[in-house]
């Protein structure tokens, strides 16, 4: 069972910035920075909850309480935890920067699920192969569609056909919305480049 890194006496400024969550990797670091910038600073104690969950669910974002739920009984590896946190932080980020109607608007829900599958590393080639999904050319998009569909069907009582239709409707828009990364981060290296761009954004926009 993975736990959050503990605070140490000689915390770096970066650790302070992340609220002790930097060890979750460059994807999380960027999302935490972007959320802080949008007025939603994330506090470990307030915005994360580790619980036992039913089924095989790894985590979720609860908009009603502004909390990320991590299913401690279903997460057994650090890399998996990092990915779940990234996925849920993307939902939190969407909640923070947009009027997302999680409960009544299926298009909004679908959009955030598409983005989370697209940008979190959920659909990396390696992860797909480990799920025995062997695809190459444009397989990333297929995976994003499939996982968004799964996520929607897990939380809403609608038919598969209806869910597919909604995903199709919003796919182009949401697949191309790469905020706050500015690109689809396929690897930690991509995420580090994205983080570099993010830290440079003031200079960037001032000199266009």
């Amino acid at each position: 069972m993975r736990t959050f890194p503990n605070y140490t006496m000689d915390q770096t400024k970066q650790e302070e910035e992340c609220g002790g969550l930097c060890a979750l990797g460059p994807y999380a670091k960027l999302l935490l920075g972007a959320m802080k910038n949008s007025g939603c600073k994330v506090f470990k104690e307030r915005h994360f909850s580790c619980e036992d969950c039913s089924g095989t669910v790894s985590g979720g974002f609860d908009a009603a309480s502004s909390q990320i739920v991590l299913c401690q009984n279903n997460i057994h590896q650090q890399s998996h935890m990092n990915r779940v946190v990234t996925h849920e932080l993307i939902h939190s980020f969407d909640h923070c920067r947009a009027h997302v109607d999680w409960f009544n608007n299926l298009r909004h829900l679908a959009c955030s699920e598409i983005r989370a599958a697209n940008l979190s590393g959920d659909c990396s080639f390696i992860n797909e192969v480990s799920r025995l999904n062997f695809g190459l050319k444009e397989h990333h998009q297929e995976c994003v569609r499939g996982r968004a569909l799964r996520s929607i069907l897990a939380v809403r009582k609608i038919s598969r056909e209806e869910a597919e239709k909604i995903v199709d409707e919003v796919f182009d828009s949401c697949f191309n919305d790469h905020a706050p990364f500015g690109r689809i981060p396929h690897s930690k290296e991509d995420a580090k480049f994205a983080y570099r761009d993010y830290m440079n954004k003031d200079r960037y926009y001032a000199n266009l």
Binding site: D62, S66, R97, N207
Partner: protein, 110 residues
Amino acid sequence: MMRNFNEVVSKPPRVCEDYWTEFRHCKSLRNRFHHYYTYGAMPSCQQWNEDHNNCKQWEMHRSPEAKEALQKSERNRVAEQKNFTPVWQLRQEPPRDWHMPLNQEKPQDS
């Protein structure tokens, strides 16, 4: 040295080194693989190289053509990132209850 605060000193949007590292990253085998896996095609990387050259010209020779070309290229990139119709409306302010303390109820799984 007296500083003239009215003078706007423009500089490239990124440090020139960043264009070079992006170019190399773009051309890497790993990135080419990821691009094919996502879009079914090879990435186009030459623009990063051009941007790097223009950046150097701007920095070293204050070339107005290089500056113009580089800024145009970057504005293009920004436009490409915005090339979609959002599904939702963006907020003017963060959600009011983001920082509110939790009540007694246990949150549900979403």
